[in-house]
């Protein structure tokens, strides 16, 4: 392991997150929409996250980066409330995430593609409409208005024409857009995306991030777990580097230093600027 052991995580100061542009009644401006306070989680005896402390302010676009097994997805699951921390607390909208009831509808979530059954016989429109199921309640089926809302969400992500198409027939990029439309269908304040560009080509990846940037400019708070370090750092305004612990947290250009990357990935890695985006070079660990 690296000899660098910053604890607590380095909080690199930067300008305040962009102010809210839309009316968001539930959380006061500047207040944290997500507060992770000393949260730890382990699967059985395997610790995945240790003492994570992290605040996500409203309007922030945060990228959670880290190698495989660094706990990125687990952190996202703690914020969604699917998992509860074994130590510490995870507060969303000022309440414990795993105890959120109907307020969950204020969260939009795009799961990792591996957890979704893409051969399932549903159309794009049906997938998006699923986002409205919890608010409809048992025994009630989507009516014309619900389908219209779903169509608008598809149009918002630029794939209105896919509505009647079976999901199984769509490309990776199209599927991700359909799932993003479902994620947006309730007009969420907090949008959580777990590797939204996996299986998506470069052009679609950039288009997807442009869309996310537009959502942020519309007042939403976004948290993206990703491996696309080079692309994502040009879009987000905060980065959290994770490797079981929070290695660093701050603005992309200040966080992405060699020392932090080395600690995070356990290998020699550095960024260099080239045109509008950053590139990363990774080489085997020097010590080995």
């Amino acid at each position: 392991m690296s000899d660098l052991s910053p604890s607590p995580a380095r909080r690199v100061p930067g300008p305040e997150a962009p102010g809210p542009s839309g009316a968001q009644a539930h959380v006061a401006p500047g207040a944290s929409i997500v507060e992770v306070q000393g949260a730890s989680f382990s699967y059985g005896e395997l610790p995945v996250l240790e003492s994570i402390t992290l605040a996500i302010e409203r309007g922030e676009f945060l990228a959670v980066l880290g190698p495989n097994g660094s706990g990125k997805t687990t952190l996202l699951k703690l914020i969604t409330g699917i998992l509860a921390p074994q130590a510490g607390e995870v507060l969303v909208f000022g309440r414990k995430a795993h105890e959120l009831g109907a307020e969950r509808r204020r969260i939009g979530y795009l799961p990792q593609v591996g957890t979704i059954n893409f051969r399932f016989p549903v159309t794009a429109l049906q997938v998006v409409t699923m986002g409205l199921y919890p608010s409809l309640g048992p025994g009630r089926y989507p009516d014309r208005a619900a389908h219209e809302t779903a169509r608008l969400a598809l149009a918002r992500v630029g794939v209105a024409e896919l509505a009647p198409r079976p999901l199984a027939e769509l490309s990776g990029g199209q599927r991700q857009r359909v799932l993003l439309a479902r994620c947006l269908v309730n007009g969420p304040e907090l949008i959580l995306l777990d590797e939204p560009t996996s299986g998506v080509d470069t052009a679609s990846t950039e288009a997807l991030y442009e869309l996310l940037r537009a959502l942020q400019q519309g007042g939403a708070t976004l948290v993206v777990v990703s491996h696309d370090i080079a692309v994502i750092t040009t879009y987000v305004n905060r980065v959290a580097c994770l490797n079981r612990r929070l290695v660093a947290h701050g603005q992309p250009d200040q966080v992405m230093g060699e020392a932090i990357l080395q600690e995070m990935y356990g290998c020699h890695a550095m960024f260099f600027g080239h045109g509008p985006s950053l590139h990363m070079i990774v080489s085997p660990h020097r010590d080995r």
Binding site: G44, K77, T80, G81, I82, L100, G101, A102, R104, R105, I107, Y109, L110, P111, Q112, T115, I116, N117, F120, P121, V122, T123, Q126, V127, M130, G131, Y133, P134, L136, P138, G139, Y141, P142, P166, A168, E169, L179, R182, L192
Partner: protein
């Protein structure tokens, strides 16, 4: 010729029971197939052997005894796969064999078991009693009502369990509900097609319908039609040919599946040709 079928009360009961079971199995089967729970159907039906044996031994209605017994088995499978590191298919495998073993043990303690149990193993639709018909109808009504009330929630959970949980759906309770519905469906169907053959009635119509369409809303009625058609046609054929009804229904539904597979292959080739032309 068809008029003959409606002359006898036992045949009328068989047609009603076969029709209900054909539709019920097919509809629940769509959820089973797309949740990759096909093995559960076989596991639950075989554990019904233990339940039926228990009923025979205790002098309780065997179908009712099997429903209670199999619900315990189904919920145990769900609990083990949710709460331990044991996978769903492994849990099914464990209970599948152990409950059969329990059944064998129990019938060895009973003296007048042989003629009773053969009917349950391979189905005896022509021996469906008025009580059986009541149990089948009431169970089907309850299962289909639950399906109507929670159908879209089950759909979301099967398609994307994590997304459904984040959206606020009680995914674990929905999983237990699905297991309960599958269990009741399988157990009330064993009188018609038997323990050994019931999983075919559950899976095959849904699989055939899923070959013909990629839309859940089309697959559901299509599977029901295939299940109903196979049950009635199978019964009629078994009556005219004097063959065992359960086996005839299952073989017929398998032929329908093969025809669907053949049709989709031919359709795909034809499309390729049209595109190439």
């Amino acid at each position: 010729m068809i008029g003959e079928l409606f002359q006898y009360a036992f045949l009328q009961r068989a047609l009603v029971a076969g029709g209900i079971v054909g539709v019920l199995c097919a509809v629940i089967g769509v959820f089973v197939v797309h949740r990759n729970l096909s093995f559960l159907g076989a596991g639950i039906s075989h554990s019904a052997f233990g339940g039926v044996a228990l009923g025979v031994l205790l002098g309780v209605n065997p179908v009712l005894a099997a429903i209670g017994f199999c619900l315990l088995v189904g919920w145990s499978i769900a609990w083990v796969s949710l709460r331990t590191r044991t996978g769903e298919d492994t849990a099914i495998g464990i209970f599948f064999a152990s409950t059969m073993a329990l059944g064998v043990l129990l019938i060895s303690l009973s003296r007048n078991y042989q003629q009773d149990l053969f009917g349950y193993m391979f189905g005896s639709i022509l021996a469906v009693t008025a009580t059986d018909l009541w149990i089948i109808s009431a169970s089907a009504a309850v299962v289909l009502l639950a399906l109507f009330v929670f159908g879209k929630e089950l759909l979301f959970t099967i398609f994307d369990p994590e997304g459904a949980a984040v959206a606020g759906l009680p995914t674990e309770r929905l999983y237990f509900l699905l297991i309960t519905m599958i269990t009741v469906t399988v157990v009330v169907s064993i009188k018609v097609v038997g323990i050994v053959l019931v999983s075919a009635l559950l899976i095959t119509p849904a699989a055939a319908a899923s070959l013909l369409s990629r839309r859940f809303t089309t697959i559901l009625p299509l599977a029901a039609a295939i299940g109903l058609g196979a049950a009635w046609a199978g019964l009629a054929l078994s009556f005219w040919w004097n063959t065992p009804s359960g086996a005839t229904i299952v073989l017929l539904v398998t032929v329908l599946f093969l025809l669907a597979a053949l049709y989709t292959q031919l359709r795909a080739r034809l499309r390729l040709k049209v595109r190439g032309a």
